[in-house]
């Protein structure tokens, strides 16, 4: 923005109107560097504050300590084991949410009767703050894996249901008519028109559902976990190890980004017919 605004009509030399087309890469690089400047400055200040003991490690460990702690946790295998356990919880809970969400959305998206039966209770449940259900889940499922997986599934099922239901309802009726004139039959119309047509919406729901799944896990794992990333955090809290806590939070963030990236890759392939993906 700043670059283009400096080019004024009166003083611009010949050929200098607008951004220089030859170097879009270097412009982007400079832009990235500018945007990185303030986070890097904050980290530097943070490190200085830690080294001068202005910031006590009991409040927050310094960046250097966090990096070395991360190295130690990885080397000991502690972090990897915890990560696997946590990942499996998300996988289990999210799979349940995906199957349940798709099944419910298909029934209520494809039939008016199904919608009348299924949609109202889901809208009611959706209105509840689902993280607040944790005490109930513990009462129902005990303190093992079930409440954690259940909380993940419960949180993720709504975005999947809602987006797919909306996607099915939003399909262009004209395409369905075209399918009728081609005599595809009900099954053929569902297979060739409704499901692929609702897929973009479903994938948005999957991405959103995944972020909710990781969030639910973070909360679920704070309670009575004996393994997983949440357990490492609880343990570290008892020993005032702020560096370990920060490392675990970073791991959560990275896992969230990775799973989101995975869905985005699926999206790029499955929706390659869309012009914005083609272009």
């Amino acid at each position: 923005m700043a670059d283009t605004s400096t080019v004024s009509h009166g003083t611009a030399p010949e050929g200098a109107v607008g951004p220089v087309p030859a170097k879009p890469g270097s412009r982007q690089l400079a832009n990235t560097a500018r945007r990185l400047a303030s986070p890097l400055a904050i980290i530097a200040l943070w490190q200085i504050a830690s080294m001068t003991e202005l910031l006590s490690p009991r409040i927050l460990a310094g960046p250097g300590d966090i990096i070395s702690t991360a190295g130690r946790l990885v080397a000991s295998g502690e972090l990897i084991n915890g990560l696997i356990v946590s990942f499996l919880r998300v996988l289990a809970g999210f799979s349940i949410a995906l199957i349940l969400g798709i099944a419910l959305a298909l029934v209520s998206g494809l039939s008016r009767l199904g919608e009348t039966i299924i949609d109202p209770p889901i809208q009611m449940l959706k209105a509840m703050p689902f993280l607040g259900l944790l005490p109930l889940f513990i009462l129902w499922f005990g303190i093992g894996e079930a409440p954690k997986i259940g909380l993940v599934a419960f949180g993720a099922v709504f975005p999947i249901y809602l987006t797919l239901h909306g996607g099915i309802r939003g399909i262009d009726k004209k395409l369905i008519e075209a399918g009728q004139t081609l005599e595809l039959g009900t099954f053929g119309i569902i297979r060739h028109i409704i499901i692929p047509g609702a897929l973009p919406s479903l994938l948005v729901g999957v991405r959103y559902g995944l972020s909710v799944a990781w969030l639910s896990l973070v909360v679920g794992e704070q309670i009575n976990a004996s393994s997983g990333i949440g357990y490492i955090i609880t343990y570290a809290r008892d020993f005032l190890q702020t560096d370990v806590i920060v490392v675990c939070l970073l791991v959560y963030a990275i896992m969230g980004l990775l799973t989101d990236g995975l869905v985005r890759a699926i999206e790029a392939y499955a929706l390659r017919w869309r012009p914005e993906v083609i272009a």
Binding site: K174, L175, A178, L182, L184, P196, P275, I278
Partner: protein, 234 residues
């Protein structure tokens, strides 16, 4: 000769006054009929009944089993390639091969694997035409199929449709509000107004019909008058 289409006293209303008010329509096999009318005259409603997209009571409603439709919009499935779209409505083990031939017929052999959203308007409509013809319809229903195209593309589409009709010889019902389109293509032109046919004109001029031919101009002028438009040069 037995009729391919035989409709008597077709009636359709959507709550209010009748949109189709006792329509009688017969079509011979291979006949090219154009249906002209102002917007709201009921011509699309009639086509939708013939396409089985709408039901309406009639004294007699005899239609051929194999029917295909081309709409004003191409209505291609954007998530299927051009050839997949064309092959979709074919129940045949060689569906893909037949689709390929149909696309060659409309001059799209080079776009088989393209995504519909990357096609131009004319290409998309040609794909829709191939998708309809590959089913070897006895009756081809065209619902203002060129209305959304630019004038040049539209004229080229007229030639293409005429050629394809000559080759496959389905009966064609072309719904349009473009008078020249009707005169250029049809054997018989019906004018629909307020749910009734108010005029029927047989056009016996040999093809290709030229717009500057006084005979076509005469038919055009007559049709325009029926539609309530007085041509300036008449």
């Amino acid at each position: 000769m037995s009729n391919l289409v035989d409709i008597r006293k077709l009636q359709r209303s959507f709550g209010g006054p009748a949109v189709l008010d006792g329509i009688d329509l017969t079509m011979a096999p291979g006949e090219f009929v154009a249906l002209l009318g102002r917007s709201g005259s009921g011509k699309s409603t009639l086509l939708r009944v013939l396409a089985d997209l709408d039901t309406a009571p009639a004294q007699e409603l005899q239609l051929p089993a194999r029917r295909s439709v081309v709409f004003q919009e191409p209505r291609l499935l954007p998530w299927k390639s051009v050839i997949e779209n064309v092959a979709l409505g074919v129940r045949h083990p060689d569906a893909r091969l037949l689709a390929k031939q149909a696309l060659a017929d409309v001059g799209l052999s080079h776009r088989l694997d393209a995504w519909p959203l990357t096609l131009s308007g004319g290409e998309a409509q040609r794909t829709a035409l191939a998708r309809a013809l590959v089913r070897e319809p006895q009756l081809l229903l065209l619902d203002e199929p060129f209305a959304a195209l630019d004038a040049l593309t539209r004229l080229r589409m007229h030639d293409l449709v005429f050629e394809l009709w000559r080759k496959h010889h389905p009966a064609v019902l072309l719904v349009t509000h473009d008078v020249w389109e009707a005169v250029a293509l049809a054997d018989r032109i019906l004018v629909l107004d307020q749910g009734r046919f108010i005029r029927e004109i047989r056009v016996d001029i040999v093809h290709p019909r030229r717009r500057d031919d006084p005979r076509t101009s005469l038919v055009e002028a007559e049709l325009l008058k029926e539609l309530g438009v007085e041509p300036l040069h008449a």
